[in-house]
């Protein structure tokens, strides 16, 4: 899997794509693969405050629940409503099926995140276990 280079990645397997002061957040293809068939995505409401490194929702498969960790702090401006009825979209296209859009509070936080190449290396190591 080639990871898009237009965004950054967390070690908890989220991606974040920045556009000026706002950003879009989702989970990576590796994450959707290890979870299996996703049946439910729980996202925060518009207006919710995210804190970098803290959970802001969950993704569920039939037999597992995974927390969503915020790659950066910010306020939720939009939530992907399609996921409520079609959670399978995350399996089909993880990098296209975003979960929330936020206004960034502190863009500097992004400096600590992984590039596509680094994330790919990180995932290869994790999978090797």
């Amino acid at each position: 899997m080639a990871y898009p280079t237009d965004r950054k990645y967390t070690r908890e397997h989220e991606w974040i794509q920045v556009d000026g002061n706002s950003a879009t957040v989702g989970i990576t293809d590796y994450a959707q693969q290890s979870l299996g068939d996703i049946v439910f995505v729980e996202t925060p409401k518009v207006g919710a405050e995210l804190t970098a490194g803290k959970t802001f929702g969950t993704v569920e498969s039939v037999k597992a629940v995974s927390d969503l960790f915020a790659p950066a702090s910010g306020t939720v401006t939009e939530v992907n409503g399609d996921l409520a009825t079609s959670p399978e979209n995350v399996n089909k296209d993880a990098h296209g099926s975003w979960m929330v859009k936020i206004t960034l509070k502190n863009p500097k936080e992004l400096d600590g995140l992984l590039s596509a190449a680094d994330y790919e290396k990180f995932v290869a190591e994790e999978a090797g276990h």
Binding site: F40, E60, V62, K63, A64, V65
Partner: protein, 458 residues
């Protein structure tokens, strides 16, 4: 030992195969100082005939042959014979939780039918596969409302079963859930003004019971309106399931916590019973307990599976909706068969008989004593206030092999000499007449004694 399928030579052969000399070697991991070197001090091994005899004797010491007027959360209804024939089938009795769907379709489909019928009867959209009992179901339903609203305060009706209130208090203690009580008025129902006063912007839910502990039917619609006006949810506990045959279900509730014991479950000195939670579809992810859902197999054939399991403890661990694991499956099957036997028409007729017996009993008692809340609609229980101590009355009734109503003083000191009486379809007119006669006799003698005293005083 007759339950163990091995001969001494089998054991020898197995030990040899494992490469051990004696059974003691198997227990070598246990530090020697803790190993028990004596027999347990428990009764000796008994023959089946002795065991049966032991329990028959206990049965004789346990109210066998008495006619009872007790209800209060545990009701004596007729149990169709086929319930025990069917639940005694080993395939139901000795099966585990249906995690392996392919070889558990019997249990799964029956639970799906159970969930469906509970929905029909309660007017709710989803119901779970069962909870321990009505009291814990009520506590869990309240915690569900706390999660859904993000509020923590809870208003509890004083007309809710006192032991249910105690259980809720235990559950709430360490959850930071302050409880306040909504009193009942002169009509035996929740006082709406007092209720509204008890609700705060922090109130997660109002918990009531209908028919309530005194058998009177709450004005659920009005209570729901008050609760919802303040953004609180309404949780309704139903302790007498047979009432659903003739009493409008609390459709305005957000969550219903039910005790289904009345549906074919033996009194059994208090358990096992069958709790169940029913609610709206939109709240299902915060509902505790197992759920069965319909799906298809790889050939497209209809089948059933446990579903939405991510709410549960074995997956979500400390973040689960509840720690409940084992529920009351076999008891839920009894309930399921009972609901199927009576069905759409039978449940109504059954409930009408309960209503008729109770109306008759209450009218007879009213001739000699004071029947409280008599202008409020009730189902199959009513409160009789007497001049004489109900414990004394019951002592006398016991001599006639009758168990009288439950003295209320223990739970409601303000009632003084009052007792909660219950009639079901199994209560005969002659039993009612005898009980009323005995109570009336004492009422007369108490009155005449009082008059004598007054005369002397004059």
């Amino acid at each position: 030992m007759r339950y163990l399928p091995k001969s001494p030579s089998d054991r020898e052969a197995m030990l040899k195969a494992i490469g051990l000399r004696s059974v003691d070697d198997l227990f070598a991991p246990i530090p020697a100082e803790y190993r028990l070197t004596r027999d347990l001090r428990i009764p000796r091994q008994m023959a089946e005939s002795e065991i049966v005899d032991f329990f028959r004797q206990r049965s004789r010491e346990n109210g066998d042959g008495y006619t009872s007027f007790l209800g209060a959360g545990a009701y004596f209804h007729y149990r169709p014979v086929i319930i025990d024939s069917l639940i005694s089938r080993g395939e139901f009795l000795t099966a585990y939780t249906p995690y392996q769907a392919e070889i558990s379709q019997g249990t799964l489909q029956s639970i799906f039918e159970f969930q469906s019928m509970i929905c029909e009867l309660t007017g709710m959209e989803v119901a779970n596969a069962s909870m321990y009992d009505g009291s814990t179901a009520a506590a869990e339903a309240v915690m569900m409302a706390v999660r859904l609203t993000g509020r923590r305060q809870v208003v509890v009706a004083r007309s809710l079963h006192p032991e249910y209130r105690e259980v809720l208090a235990t559950y709430a203690t360490h959850q930071g859930m302050p409880l306040s009580v909504a009193p009942f008025g002169a009509d035996g129902r929740i006082d709406l003004k007092e209720l509204e006063a008890a609700i705060t912007p922090e109130t997660a839910c109002v918990l009531i019971q209908s028919p309530n502990f005194f058998g009177t039917i709450e004005d659920v619609e009005a209570i729901a309106e008050v609760a919802h006006k303040h953004g609180a949810m309404l949780v309704v506990s139903i302790a007498e399931a047979v009432s659903l045959g003739i009493i409008e279900p609390p459709r305005q509730a957000d969550v219903i916590a039910m005790e289904a014991q009345s549906f074919g479950v033996p009194l059994g000195f208090g358990g096992p019973y069958c709790g169940v939670i029913a609610t709206r579809e939109k709240y299902v992810r915060q509902m505790p307990g197992r759920l069965v859902g319909q799906t298809v197999d790889k050939q497209g054939k209809r089948g059933f599976v446990l579903t939405l399991a991510t709410r549960e403890q074995h997956i979500r661990r400390e973040k689960a909706t509840s720690n409940i694991c084992t529920n009351q499956a076999l008891v839920a099957l009894m309930v399921n068969i009972f609901m199927t036997v009576y069905g759409k028409v039978g449940l109504k007729e059954l409930a009408k008989q309960n209503l008729a017996k109770t109306a008759y009993a209450a009218s007879q008692f009213a001739k000699h004593g004071n029947v409280l809340f008599s202008h409020t609609p009730r189902f199959n229980e009513f409160v009789v206030a007497t001049s004489e101590d109900p414990y004394a009355i019951n002592g006398r009734l016991l001599g006639h092999k009758i168990v009288g109503g439950l003295p209320l003083r223990k739970f409601y000191p303000e009632f003084g000499n009052a007792a909660l009486w219950c009639c079901t379809e199994l209560t005969t007119r002659s039993a009612i007449d005898t009980a009323v006669g005995l109570v009336a006799e004492s009422e007369r003698s108490v009155r005449s004694a009082k008059e004598e005293v007054e005369e002397v005083a004059r």
